[in-house]
């Protein structure tokens, strides 16, 4: 069967025009122009099904979880726990209790630093990260190191934006107690060879966390296959609501870790003399969680599973290659981040024009990109730029979106000539 017009220019069977119709927000105009949304690494838009589930949850099922005997509470509890099982399957965790609900990637990393980190990192020890981390995978470790007298080590990257694996390995020393590395860089789009990195750490019996915020929307993630000890991601970058995210942790580690926050649900019994803590995952979920958020996340994952992660990845890789080719062809554009393996984001600078000005001019064309340091200031310093412009792709983007971006950049150049 010949492809229908909508399928031309994307991977076969991936009907991006039909998919776009699922996203109400994409139908609008910005400054009189059709919205071209390329700020997906910051947050993705939500399909109608996710929005509808949130409404239905509040209209029909809303109650607190794990505490009522009444039907609504049972229903809410069941949906909440069903999401945990869906996430478990989605990332191929061994058990559902290895899935902890948090606010997002930031809270997931802070949780690990505040529990596992405090317990295992002491004076004179090292924590190893890389030069391409998001601030949320730098600052929690910096705080921990400051508190416990440990040292934060940073593995360097190449000019292309790839991790220097040889240097990384050298930095894994006898005092390294923890490694935390991003799966995909939010600024450079670099996909790190995380399986290899996990193996290097494990050969020395060092536990490792992977920051999956920018990987989970683009790449099939299998935490057992990767064998990482922790994996963190945010729902809102995965077509789900804000305020919900996931920390995956291996059960045997979670069991030994102290609790994160104190409160309801994380205990099994409380007296004024002594409190016994609940088991994972509840030990790490004090207080009423973002129940609606989990319901929305559940629907978002269903949406992705219906399209198929491999089809999404193929479509996005096609777009990324197209965007890279078109951008590189513009005189005056320099790409920041040219790793062999990339996904999602593409950063660039323009001769004679500050990224902030690019952003303003593109916005007038209805094109939403991100400009600035992208919460990776050390990375900006590494490349000697104050900021970059970043276009970040999602499953609903099209070649037309890239064409609009290119036309917009030419307009910027025209204006600043």
């Amino acid at each position: 069967m010949p492809p229908r017009p909508a399928e031309i220019g994307s991977s076969a069977g991936f009907d991006v025009q039909r998919i776009r119709a699922d996203f109400p927000i994409l139908q609008q105009k910005i400054h009189g122009k059709p919205l071209v949304y390329l700020d997906n690494a910051a947050s993705t838009q939500k399909p109608r099904s996710v929005i509808d589930t949130l409404v239905r949850y509040y209209e029909e099922d809303n109650a607190n979880i794990h505490r009522g005997v009444h039907l609504l509470s049972e229903r809410a509890t069941e949906t909440y726990e069903a999401t945990r099982r869906r996430v478990q399957r989605f990332i191929n965790a061994r058990e559902s209790r290895e899935v902890i609900f948090v606010r997002g990637t930031t809270e997931a990393i802070n949780l690990v630093a505040a529990t596992f980190g405090r317990q295992n990192v002491g004076a004179g020890d090292d924590v190893l990260i890389t030069h391409m981390e998001h601030h949320s995978n730098i600052v929690p470790w910096q705080m921990l190191c400051e508190e416990n007298g440990a040292k934060l080590r940073v593995a360097p990257i190449t000019d292309a934006g790839e991790l220097r694996l040889d240097e990384f390995e050298k930095l894994l020393g006898p005092r390294t107690r923890f490694v935390s590395v991003t799966h995909v860089s939010n600024t450079l789009g670099t996909v790190n060879p995380v399986k290899h990195i996990v193996d290097m750490a494990h050969r020395r019996k060092i536990p490792i966390l992977l920051d999956g915020a920018q990987a989970i929307p683009h790449i099939r993630v299998d935490v057992q296959g990767l064998d990482c000890d922790f994996y963190a991601f945010s729902g809102h970058k995965l077509y789900g609501p804000t305020g919900i995210g996931v920390l995956y942790g291996k059960a045997e580690l979670l069991e030994r870790m102290p609790p994160y926050q104190g409160g309801g649900d994380m205990i099994s019994s409380v007296t004024f003399e002594k409190t016994t803590y609940n088991v994972p995952p509840y030990k790490f979920e004090a207080g009423t969680p973002n129940i609606a958020g989990t319901v929305g996340l559940d629907t978002a994952i269903q949406y992705i599973e219906n399209l198929g992660m491999d089809a999404i990845a193929a479509h996005e890789q096609d777009l990324l290659a197209y965007a890279t080719e078109r951008l590189s062809a513009i005189d005056g554009v320099t790409l920041i981040g040219t790793a062999k393996e990339r996904s999602g984001a593409i950063s660039f600078i323009l001769d004679g024009v500050h990224p902030h000005d690019i952003g303003t001019v593109l916005d007038q064309e209805g094109i939403a990109i991100r400009t600035g340091h992208h919460c990776t200031q050390p990375l900006m310093d590494r490349f000697g730029v104050p900021a970059t412009a970043r276009a970040a792709l999602a499953l609903y983007n099209t070649r037309e979106d890239i064409d609009a971006l290119i036309a917009g950049i030419l307009k910027v150049q025209e204006m600043f000539r």
């Binding site: 004679g352 024009v353 500050h354 990224p355 902030h356 000005d357 303003t360 001019v361 007038q364 400009t371 600035g372 340091h373 200031q377 900006m380 104050p386 900021a387 204006m415 600043f416």
Partner: protein
């Protein structure tokens, strides 16, 4: 596009490409660093103040067209002014870019080209960064100034 042309006036682009009074001033100068953490723009303002008059003023830094042009034109506008006059110009400039000014900005002279900024609230901090830094340099102190 018309709003954009209002924002990126020729004068502004001119100052962006060729900033005036760019560089350090030799000590003893007052200087202060300003920073916009949102976009990474940095500016350092240097000045000599003698008998309550801004006798010389320069700036250094890297930033967008709006913040660079604003710093450049600020140095031109403030050189030779008394401290009180300079502060008054800052106040009126601030009102101009935030859209609070009462209509009459004649006495702002060339700085009136920044009126277009008011249509771009996200850019107000770019336009005022150097000015806040100047103000802080006058007051003295060491801490870098942040727009956040």
């Amino acid at each position: 596009m018309s709003d954009l042309r209002e924002l990126y006036q020729e004068t502004i682009l001119g100052h962006y490409k060729k900033p005036r009074n760019f560089g350090k001033l030799p000590p003893p100068s007052r200087h202060r660093e300003g920073y916009n953490p949102l976009c990474g723009d940095k500016v350092t303002v240097y000045m000599h103040v003698k008998d309550d008059v801004v006798t010389d003023i320069r700036f250094e830094g890297s930033g967008c067209a709006i913040s660079t042009a604003s710093a450049s034109m600020m140095t031109e506008a403030l050189k030779g002014k008394t401290v009180a006059e300079a502060e008054e110009i800052f106040k009126r400039f601030h009102e101009l870019v935030t859209g609070k000014e009462a209509g009459d900005n004649d006495n702002l002279g060339k700085l009136a080209v920044f009126a277009g900024v008011r249509e771009f609230p996200a850019r107000v901090k770019c336009a005022t960064l150097a000015w806040h830094t100047f103000h802080a340099a006058l007051e003295g102190g060491e801490q870098p100034v942040s727009t956040e």
